[in-house]
Symmetry: C2
Subunit: 424 residues, 2 copies
Amino acid sequence: MTPESDPHIDIERLLSRLAELSEIGGIDETTGCSRLAFTDADRAGRELVLTWMRDLGLEVTVDGIGNVVGVWRPDSMPEDARDLAPVMTGSHIDTVATGGRYDGNLGVLAGIEVIETLATEGFVPPRPLAVAFFSNEEGARFAPDMMGSLVYVGGMGLEQAHNTVGIDGATVGEELDRIGYRGPAPCPGLVPHAFVELHIEQGPVLEEAGIDVGVVEGVQGISWTEVTIEGQSNHAGTTPMRLRHDAGFAAASVATFVRSLARELGHPQVGTVGAIDLHPNLVNVVAASATLTVDLRNTDNGILTGAEQRLHTHLDELATTEGVAVSTRSLARFDPVVFDSRVVDLVEAAARSLGATTLRMPSGAGHDAQMMARVCPTAMIFTPSHKGISHNPAEHTDPDHLAVGADTLLQVMLDLAGGGWSRP
Amino acid sequence: MTPESDPHIDIERLLSRLAELSEIGGIDETTGCSRLAFTDADRAGRELVLTWMRDLGLEVTVDGIGNVVGVWRPDSMPEDARDLAPVMTGSHIDTVATGGRYDGNLGVLAGIEVIETLATEGFVPPRPLAVAFFSNEEGARFAPDMMGSLVYVGGMGLEQAHNTVGIDGATVGEELDRIGYRGPAPCPGLVPHAFVELHIEQGPVLEEAGIDVGVVEGVQGISWTEVTIEGQSNHAGTTPMRLRHDAGFAAASVATFVRSLARELGHPQVGTVGAIDLHPNLVNVVAASATLTVDLRNTDNGILTGAEQRLHTHLDELATTEGVAVSTRSLARFDPVVFDSRVVDLVEAAARSLGATTLRMPSGAGHDAQMMARVCPTAMIFTPSHKGISHNPAEHTDPDHLAVGADTLLQVMLDLAGGGWSRP
């Protein structure tokens, strides 16, 4: 059926649900959220979202890692359509310890909003639609991040996931049992017809360029390296410069090298030394040892690999010139992900049809969509993040941007289902 | 009287006392010491050293900050000599939390050893000799360091010193009362005829050059600056390099600048960034803020001041180029101290008369002698530190070096007293 005019999501209802969910684990007078994966707060958030899913009549399943999938098959859906693979959207509702209210929550609640809007309109899609929330996307309590979607697509076995020990000593399996979310649905899970995820950008690019919707073409490759430097502790006053083996200076020189490297390689290469720990970390002692992290990302795997090699060459030189011992450990390495160009094109067309300005861009952060891209055509929709702030109670996106993002999601899901509205 | 041959200190007795004192607050099977100022361990160390002083017949006084001075006036000393200002030596017996057994202990116990040697020989000096230990030289529990000698020479009032709050919340005054070392002797204290301090170098210069005795001409000026950088926390993946205000990079660039500055200014300029703290200090977050310390030292106050100005110019430029807010706070600023050339010459001559090789050098670390230099002719004697290690249980000086250092102290004290032995 084709309604008289394009339906639009109800932004007030979406905002209201975002606010209600943010009160669970709320911080800073509910501006922000603290719902680490598999905690009591996570359980309470899950219960609330499940209530909304069930109120909509979704068929809800929970799998062995606690991923929740709600499938919408309206009563009037023809029998042959009911068995088709669903068009899926979704994201996650766990947060970092000091998170904002949008992040993954937006993608999940917008998915519910899309389905509610269509249901209210009496629309019956040509195939089922589904909305999911994946467990432990943040990885803030249990590494790695995107664990739930990784298990969903078969990239990690359930047993390995269950045995993961968190920062507080608990295991994923124990905590799943404790909160009652070790479900019976199998992993790997149902393969969707296609997957599209709405998420805040978590960066400043859209806002700075004055763009409404980011058309996400892929996810940057990520290389995380921990660098440990062993020098020699010495008195800062009595040790001539030529006799030093200064782990603190060496750590600093890695950080300035990473900046130079990123600038030299140019956009979209980024490089960050976000963590530095010196020992003994005293004003008058040349540091004996240092640990630091290097985060390198690029959409081009060849350039990223080259950047990693340059880093290692620099570390080798540093070991010689400063007389320190340097060792490295890979904390994470993900190849870049390229989204399906057909889905990317649909996102761009849908946003433009809504009068939104668009920008094709990579995601600098990891998302559940990159795991889903392993098994089905996938893309993402970004909404602007005020000042690029995320993982922070100050995270904010204007309601107008949330609305156009969610309407884009609605349109893309319909297009993917093969039942587009009245767009030309 | 002039004995038949030059007396020498008893190295076995000195080593035995160093070992016995190190067992109080002993760590690592008594290799190291932990006797923070005004703790129970400090009290126990004081009691032991006082026992040795009293066994030698020294007239012991304790002043309002707990400085202990033992004056040796042999029974046979003429009445007119007894009233002369003493030649004083000494140092401190407090340690850092993970200290070695030499550090200040050597200067105090060597002073006792010198007097015991002379007393055993029946020698009567032309004026009194004295050995002191000054409170809280390390400053590891209560800032500033060299507090006892600073109060002794009138550089800090007793009330201010007593009100100093330590890292554990206790005050100096309370702790002095608790351990029973708020004594009646006045501050400022007795002005000596001259002061000479034996200390380990705490640096690698003497050992590296194969020299037995360091002839200390002065103490480097010290400039400690705390630098606080406020940038903007951002996602390490989603924030293009050109939009960053990275406090972590800024901190690193200060550390590499300090290295370049010290190298450019050349010896004896040293520069150290020993402490760096980033916030939130996470692998995937551009640091929002950073705090670091800059330690600059030089024997030339003009060059040191110039180095400070260069640092501030760099910080101003950094604030502009990185778009961060930079503020600074002076943690300490001491002008260089120049020791009395007559006493320095005596140290050099004494060491050479003992067959020792010597090197004129500044002290890179602060010492009680630099406070005493404000009120009387002063110099210092350094013995080599193995690998330059100090403030560490692994601190070590060879017994032969300890012996020649203590014999040099003996000779210089006699020379200062005006009653040199049989040196040509």
